[in-house]
Amino acid sequence: MNSRGPLGRGARLLIALAGIAALVFVLSACDLGGVHPIFPDPVSANGKNIYDTYVGISLMAIVVFVGVEAALLWVVIRYRRSAQPVGYVPPQVHGHTGLEIAWTIAPLVIVLAIAAYSFAELQKDFQPISNPQMTVIISGHQFGWDYQYENGVVVHQEGSLAAPVVPFVVPTHTLVKLQFRATDVIHSWWVPAVSGKTDAVPGYDNFSWLKIDQTGQWRGECAELCGAGHASMQIIVQAMDQPEFDAWMAKQKPAPSPSASPSPSK
């Protein structure tokens, strides 16, 4: 038989796996110098629901992960040749219909539960909304975002890696419908603290919404590779209370309305 050191090979595997498991738990338990195991605290209602779905799936995932890795560890420790009596001949089992059916049905039940849970959230927060208090058209281009408010004001959020970009300002406690467009290639608007990402695709409008109930600033980035300036397409969302928002809006210069521009000569 093979010679083994004082520390058996299976034992070393055990230590390595235990180390990884410990790392997972440490990472999920605390905040190590900016290492968040979970999303930034969600500030929009849909972001909160996505976060809850994530936590719900995690509960089942942790059970499956711990259960299966424990079974693997048990196999390593108990059924290694050096742990078996000399001359041990394993039972020649070819299968067990009941067991095989059991571990077909068990994952099926788990994934159906996760799918149902996720689908409920999908129906709740991902339908086009019909009762917005405000609509903003977000147009992605190489490399920046334009935010067009209903009164014609446009905020140009040109991409920059060096300096903070111009914030996209929304009032708090307001259901804002976000309507996404792209004028060149596909971009994706993502502010993790607000909610999930939405693609801005040339040719049609895509939709999302936000409703932020606290003031503050949150960072995001373009999430769809769109060319050399992709990394510079930073996003800042700023939520202000309604009076501050109105004051901010009053200072913005409305874009020239299309009817005011000279019509091309025929």
């Binding site: 999303f39 996505i50 099926l108 999930g196 995001g220 050399a228 992709h230």
Partner: protein, 549 residues
Amino acid sequence: MATTTLPRPKAYDDTFFKPISLWLTTTDHKLIGIMYMVTSLISFVIGGIFALIIRLQLSQPNLRIVDAETYNQLISAHGVTMIFFFVTIFVTGIANYMVPIMIGARDMAFPRVNLLGFWLIPVSIILYYCGFLTGGGLNAGWTGYAPLTEKAFQGHSLGVDFWAMSIIVWAISGIMASTNFLTTIVALRAPGMRFSRLPLFVWAQISTSILLLIVGAPLAAAMILVEFDRQLGTQFFTTAGRPVLYQHLFWFFGHPEVYVMILPAFGLISEIVPVFARKPIFGYMSMVAALFGIVFLSMTVWAHHMFTVGMNTYVEGFFMLMTMLIAVPTGIKFFNWIATMWWGSIDFTVPIKFVFGFLATFLIGGITGIYLASVPVDTQLHQSYFVVAHLHYVLFGGSVFAILAGIYYWFPKITGRLLNRRLGEWNFWTVFIGFNGTFLIMHTLGLEGMPRRIWTYSNEAWAATNMIITISSFLIAISILLFLINVIHSWTQGEIAGNDPWQGNTLEWATTSPPPPYNFERVPPVRSFMPVRDLREAGELAEHEPVPA
């Protein structure tokens, strides 16, 4: 482990060192298989070097080791090289070598198609890299989403055109190989080798070939339409056209491609586990059924890569459900592997260590896949470093660990010599720690909001994690270096393996190592799915060994 030194069979011991004219013209499935595998390992090294440059660039915020345009070409080349030129090519190569022997055939059904199919691969690889000579290679990621690949956004370089042509050639080669595998397995099985007695690796190859046969053509179609847009001025995927159509076509190939890379890995694991646990595979029929369950489901899930483009929520719900259902056949396979080892007597050689590495890490890839399948959660995780971590757990922790297990397992059969065990142990532990050090904490970057495919970042909060990842990635590189040293050294200097160093179950262990050009002097009788074990137990193994010429 072979402890006695057997005399080397003189006629077959120089598998690799043959005249170049023989390598260029051979139709022997074994030599073609070796060429596939060597080609793919060269690609692995090239793709790995790209990865290391990427990791250096990301190790700290605001670095300028490469510029944005070069970075975009590097990530594209890394993805294309690893997926198209390494993993898929390696699993094709090892199947090319082993499938005919495992079913007791003399060669593939169409040896000259095999020859052509292989030589299209270097053509495809060279075509891809030619793009770099035209002012810049593909820079839109390995997925090459339109309209970024369109002429309007590409300047004067022809990288996209060379990529598209390369992939068309690659798809043709894959269709040839798949046809060949299916014909071989249907038509050339040895007497007694019924379908119910096929080794699970062969079953995996059947399912893989069916998949690639179905999805190879849509991939080529997508690339042809990209070329129409670029060269003939059509508007299929342009800003004025339908860019999302490209995503549908690409992912109708792209998701099954994941299974083209992982099903042969499942096959490898199913071969290695019973041999080292000294037990028959648990639930042979449910293993086969699970393979075909995955084949069917994998073609109904492609739009889960597109949950943020704005589809109807019921359509999204369908793709979410089908994606999650893949966990069921995969779970069956997982539990069957564990059950095979339960009550076993596991000999902890290097191949089985890599199998445990596969099981421990692929599980994480499978579980994170459930998060990504859930539409609401996916809108957060999509296109972030969580996805990068997930796909590496599936492709590296899954496919590459299984490939390494397969190399340690079959190297003695292919070369006649064992890989060095001590180097193998170092290889396993360094790659296992390096891999998890790289990709486990990478999940957190995605949750924190770091998108993938950004060439640099200014957020200081991500700096420490990125540094740990970069350091760990170099541990992987050292490990792969150890592996390559082991392969090159053992090919000529390794311990002589003998015909059957592991006491295997399947037919390849009944012939010499390496096998003669015709594989078997007399094909051994096949009475179950473990024919060589049957012979060994009946004391008949020796008389079926071919006599060295």
